[in-house]
Subunit: 325 residues, 2 copies
């Protein structure tokens, strides 16, 4: 059982237990998780939800460590969650490794949680969305969701946060324009990391190139000019300027109810996606369709009928049963 009072006062052990509960796939845990989420719902929504993405080695952890230091210095509480494709593939979590965030890992005002291992990327994302709510109920002011630039993880994170920050390395030159074109469109803010030492000059070129490239794209928030900022996470230079732009973006988004509208739309999209997944789970567990499913699956496997035709037949049979007319 989760002690909701302890969660509300921000007890980290209770928060950790609560997140473990929502990550569980056992039916009774799932029922308890749903009850818990419903109870804490009025305490959620007050945080700034910040998505951060970048390739391995770009320095996300060092940046989050430096940003966390700044925020905790301002008296804020910071949670770090991860949507980690490597956890789905290898069963181990690369992101959210506390040892990669030296300073933050030992702060009482910080909470770091790696991805649940052994789940599909979709499963990780489902649980991370719920974990954001729990962190908010526990009073965290900033919830950072970190991901790596692989597959669909970036759009999943953009769909669960208020602000999406893309982190890049200097020196990749013109290639960046095209390499990151698809993800660049998701970015509300671009940060060029490692603007220090030998890479200083290259970072300046990268910023200019990126500013040019971003001019060609339509920002997610109309009227917002996606800023490109150079930072050195290692030397903790430029971190405050990034935070200023993040809060400026949030303020611009909040005008005219834009933040609320974005979050509401994210929730509705999540609702339908989750409903679809649950319907398929219910059908697959339904004994009255067991024989038909096995037959159709076998016909599909053997190439007798196309998958889309078999799917239409199965879904029609199931859906018509549920429609009593």
């Amino acid at each position: 059982m989760i002690d909701i009072q302890q969660l509300r006062v921000g007890d980290r052990r209770t928060l950790a237990k609560a997140i473990t509960l929502i990550e569980s796939t056992r039916a009774d845990d799932r029922a308890a998780a749903e009850k818990l989420l419903e109870q804490v719902m009025p305490d959620t929504g007050q945080s700034l939800r910040l998505g951060i993405s970048g390739i391995p080695g770009v320095g996300k952890s060092t940046f989050i460590d430096a940003l966390g230091r700044l925020l905790i210095g301002h008296g804020q509480r910071v949670a770090v969650l991860t949507v980690d494709p490597s956890s789905a593939i290898s069963g181990g979590a690369i992101l959210g490794d506390k040892t990669r965030m030296d300073w933050l890992a030992v702060q009482p005002s910080a909470y770091i949680r790696p991805s649940p291992a052994g789940m599909t990327l979709g499963g990780v994302a489902r649980r991370t969305r719920e974990a954001i709510l729990l962190c908010e109920a526990a009073g965290y002011d900033v919830v950072i969701v970190e991901t790596v630039g692989v597959g669909q993880s970036e759009s999943l994170v953009a769909e669960m946060t208020d602000v999406f920050l893309l982190m890049l390395l200097p020196g990749a030159g013109d290639d960046l324009q095209s390499i990151k074109r698809g993800v660049m469109e998701l970015a509300d803010l671009v940060v060029v990391n490692k603007a220090d030492g030998d890479l200083m000059a290259k970072a300046g070129v990268a910023v200019a190139d990126l500013q040019y490239a971003l001019h060609l794209l339509r920002p997610r928030l109309p009227g917002w000019e996606t800023p490109v900022l150079a930072v050195s996470s290692r030397e903790r230079h430029g971190i405050e300027a990034v935070w200023d732009r993040i809060t400026a973006y949030r303020a611009a988004l909040s005008e005219n109810g834009g933040l609320e509208a974005r979050r509401n739309q994210q929730s509705v999209d999540w609702f339908w996606r989750e409903t679809g997944e649950l319907l398929l789970e219910a059908l697959r567990a339904d004994p009255s369709f067991r024989r038909e499913m096995a037959q159709l699956q076998e016909q599909v496997r053997s190439g007798t009928i196309p998958a889309s035709v078999a799917a239409a037949r199965l879904a029609r049979g199931y859906a018509s049963l549920s429609w009593p007319g």
Copy 2:
């Protein structure tokens, strides 16, 4: 109406009409499309299904043009389809633009089809899977599915082809290791393009770097050492060596029924994904749930209940109706 005899003899206008039919979302077209697919099913499966991915500017079109020239020279017929995220975002198709494949575009033995515009990426992928079957029914020996290195498009293409070829540029150096880590795991074959002129030396370095990086990854096919080959698509150097490795891979995969097993698994996965999508479509169109859906969606939108809880409630209500016990 599609003339199946004309399709079977490889008439390109009939093939184009058939693909237009399966891309249609109208209910009567959908019924006709399912019937057509079921009828042609015995004529499918004989082609080599080749997925090709790479960032914009890597030279995919030039490579496909050169590869197509080689294959047609061998007396083979070549179809090129695309899974194009830009078509979902902008409504226009960047990939599969025939003007980018000068030579191939005017060959009677080639068929080039851009992505359907205005569909989601998932919708594009659904229809591309069906288009592969139609191309096979029309007697194409090699079906190339081209995509750009953005979001989940690469894994979608890997899931519908026999061989997945990743195309890279020389000169990105060490970064490649990390940048492409997630996609590299999908590759059965890596090709470094533009190994000509000034980039010749850089291409050699890139090949060595990539060979090293690939040693660290587990190939999709056990025992297969993912080859890295340098080519100049523009000068048409190295194309034949790539084709040799593609057919070698297909041969290795075919041993012990591996090709059949992979295709069967792809079909079964597609079947379940499609079923899930159709179930959700059916629920959303079901008038007896209209009020509950509207209420739940409003509660989710206003933040009264968490999306996952609302989804569980809706799915349970719908699924229990379909379960007459």
